[in-house]
Symmetry: C2
Subunit: 604 residues, 2 copies
Amino acid sequence: MSSGKESFVDVLVVGAGPAGLMCAFGLARAGVNVRIIDKRPVKVAAGQADGLQPRTIEIFQSYGLAERLLKEGNQMHQAAFYGPNSEGGIGLIERVPDVAASNARYPFEVTLHQGAIEAIFLDNMKAMDVQVDRPIIPTSIEVSSDPSVLEDPESYPVKVKLQHLDSEGQRTTETTENTEIVNAKYVVGADGAHSWVRRTLGIAMEGEHTDYVWGVIDMVPDTDFPDVRNKTAVHSNNGSCMIIPREDDKIRVYIQLEECDAVDSASKRVDKSKMGPEKLLEVARKSFYPYTFRQPKEFDWWTIYIIGQRVASRYSVQDRVFIVGDACHTHSPKAGQGMNASMRDSYNLVWKLTHVLRGWASRSLLKTYEFERRHYANQLINFDKKFAKLFSGKPQSELNMDGVSHEEFLQAFQTFGGFTSGIGVHYEESSIVNTRYQHLAANLTIGERVPPQILLRAADGRPFDIQDLLPSDTRFKVLVFTGDSSDPAQLAKVTSLAEEIQAPGSFLTKSSFGKDMLEFMAISSANKQSVVYNVIPALFRSHWSKVFIDDVDMTGKQGGELYSSYGIGPSGAVVVVRPDGFVGTITPLDSAADLTSYFAQFTA
Amino acid sequence: MSSGKESFVDVLVVGAGPAGLMCAFGLARAGVNVRIIDKRPVKVAAGQADGLQPRTIEIFQSYGLAERLLKEGNQMHQAAFYGPNSEGGIGLIERVPDVAASNARYPFEVTLHQGAIEAIFLDNMKAMDVQVDRPIIPTSIEVSSDPSVLEDPESYPVKVKLQHLDSEGQRTTETTENTEIVNAKYVVGADGAHSWVRRTLGIAMEGEHTDYVWGVIDMVPDTDFPDVRNKTAVHSNNGSCMIIPREDDKIRVYIQLEECDAVDSASKRVDKSKMGPEKLLEVARKSFYPYTFRQPKEFDWWTIYIIGQRVASRYSVQDRVFIVGDACHTHSPKAGQGMNASMRDSYNLVWKLTHVLRGWASRSLLKTYEFERRHYANQLINFDKKFAKLFSGKPQSELNMDGVSHEEFLQAFQTFGGFTSGIGVHYEESSIVNTRYQHLAANLTIGERVPPQILLRAADGRPFDIQDLLPSDTRFKVLVFTGDSSDPAQLAKVTSLAEEIQAPGSFLTKSSFGKDMLEFMAISSANKQSVVYNVIPALFRSHWSKVFIDDVDMTGKQGGELYSSYGIGPSGAVVVVRPDGFVGTITPLDSAADLTSYFAQFTA
């Protein structure tokens, strides 16, 4: 390669969509030296993905970003189902919770156009002096194959050539002025379904396209349809539609199409010249009869797509280049999974890269990214196959007894609720997921995110959601469930644990162990009248605000269900929460050795 | 008067403490031409008032300011009581809710230093291009006594001469450069306990000083006392103290003093040379024994004061000059009322001034300011006398059976809870408080603020607190409780009401009636399965978001108690909420005439 500038960076992120921005934002927040590039001259303004699932909102909250999201976005609390009625039109069957999972902290989805979601990251990155370099494309990438280079924490084994495009986003002749070399410790390809990074590194997509063709229009509706502000699935004898209400007064309508109407018969690809938004609305009107939709003043956005369900064969090359988001998996948009799964890929990767770059974790930690996220993507495709089939099927009726019944559709909707909300995502046993002592907190599933619960701060009785004690600050949280700290015998056990953890041989005394790698907190089952917060050993309360109790608050309206809902008994337990809010392991209160073994699996 | 510049302004606010800032902010938010001056060269940085009561937090929320307040401030959820124990020291008696009122939306107080609270107003005013002019003092004020001028909406009957001070806040020789004349339609004196406006206009303070002398220190404590983060009242045989935890790790300690220790025996005034913060801490230590307080690195602030309990004999001159806040009432700070009462004076006045200035209301509306707020101040003084006596009294013990028992103190604390939280404040019958139809909503007290309750938006099932439908946007809110709108007979009544309200002779058709003076909303008792939001008459739903239902939300955890908790029956009712969130009146669903009579009392 010959080029003008040459530079070094810890992480180069290619692509500034939701996955790339979550990655760059998360790394920047962790203080990692990161650069992010994108081929588009300006950011997306409308359309594209727009739904955030409950777990994704929790992640935004863990970064302090949820407040703005909730202010700007629309909240979908209800799903309505319409089916054929006896008069040849459609009628309301029922309204159900939009989120079927029972332990969602945010029991709704947020809809907001992709540009506004990206702006949340961009504005917060700007405050940290990280901006998207654009328009730029990578034109070549080389990854060292030398094991000693690959394993050297100080090396930059990935060399990427970049070309700056002109202001229209067009490629011009390569010159030393418009090209540069970036040497990166790590590269993250977040460059979408047609990922250049993936294709250039020869990673295959496995899976297939379906026959389901859908159209999408975004508009402010002028209608008498009364469920235009709910997520509404319409199964009529004249086609299927789905409404997704949006910010301001906008809605998105997904419209099932006949293949012949929108697909080029030779190439089998979508032919957008066959149909515009007006024609899509015309198709939709047939499903909505007897309700009417007048022609809107304008369509904000529209598209037509064929559902494809594919997963990348691997997510990494040498654990030095990773792909995230649409570059790894594509599926139907109607269950609102794409952008969510993509951002959560990055969220899973960010803390692992950070710990390795800081020298806290061994490089083997990075293997858990593909292990955890590719498994999830496969589950997602399986779910999507079932859901798309039900959704695209004809409704059951007297003339069509083989059709999809409302009960069948609703059951699928609810069965998959934990999964589609993102809060039922489960990571299998690995170097960072150890389930040996699951029985100590039977309902706090190791490998899943910590479910919301209210506890009280011991010193002042202020209620908190436990999730807010687990911010995305790259630290492991070691929650010492002390049992009843006002019982001297129980307190003695807690004191012993603190001593053991500080004794030679414990993980905490290992020289490579970063002192900011974890934070201790104590959660006592003492009540608010008897608790004395400052009897807890100093190791477990670096500040008065780090001791909590499981009791109802002074209003009597919340709290007091933490131990019981998690299934933690009076002997207590130690719960290790990963930096991404997932339970990593649980150990007995009397065994510092088990904590030491857990951290030994992946720390440097 | 002779002076350089001469200008005209709708409202001149004198004094930029909490009362003055709430006034100027509220007026600016309403789009009123307002100017605010202050004699201090810079704003307060520490100390002084620091507690916000539940009702005051509700007001901040109604302006969209609560989020920042809750982020920056400390929350006090618990009050702890310590009394003499058998070993000669003190022991915990019990911990109780800090807020004793049952229907507080925010069941806690927020503590934050006055400068930070003022900054919330200042930053928001800055965004509206209103800043405090400082350092400036008024040197003369003249109010016209000509009735035709006073009643003329276009006149500027108040002439105030201002002098600009030097950068140290010192007065220099008057010149045409440093003086100016302001002609104001209205002047608000928010210039504190020693109010120049009040004294210059010859308004007397009525009441007296007490013998109770208290010291105050602000610090980050170094202590083993376990209730340092609760509001803690300590009654020992060696004196009384009170802890108020603050933002960051700070606390404020109120310390009871002997008169001889801090008061000049000749002048009977506080002599701060007799005691510094170190000596105050020494006095406090005696009360806290056996707990210890080490000398802190520094004291953030300290003072010594004698409790005075006085109310101004009137609150206005010609209803053209008003006084608010400490200028009208002084009392003990320990129940945390001063700043709250002061800001709420302004909050009461702001919408009235706005409606008169816009030509919507007759000037008689302004009389309700003194009527409502002076009555409240007198109640406050009466409460304060009882509370201060209990607080300053010796604890009951075997040696002192006449002392104040814990039960007596706690009972007072709880009895006054509704009052001290600000949410039990009750305005009497007047031109804007009409209680004739109280029975239609027996538990929604006319003359009190609308208590929080969850309702659902009909179109999308999203839960809201009813208080959030009542923002401080200067509009009356007319809440049409429709009964069950899915019952055709009931819906017909609602439709009739809409027609009557739009018929000639109705208040709405009066030419002087500002179309932005009120907003209609509909609240149906239909359930979330049957409701069809767009059957509600168009008058009551200017937007799809203006129709609500009283039902439990999709999680089953909240909502569905609105009609029952307010005592509204199936026939419905119309509830008129004043711009300050207080219930103005309630009328039957079948009587537009009663609405017309209500508004006729005070509209222009």
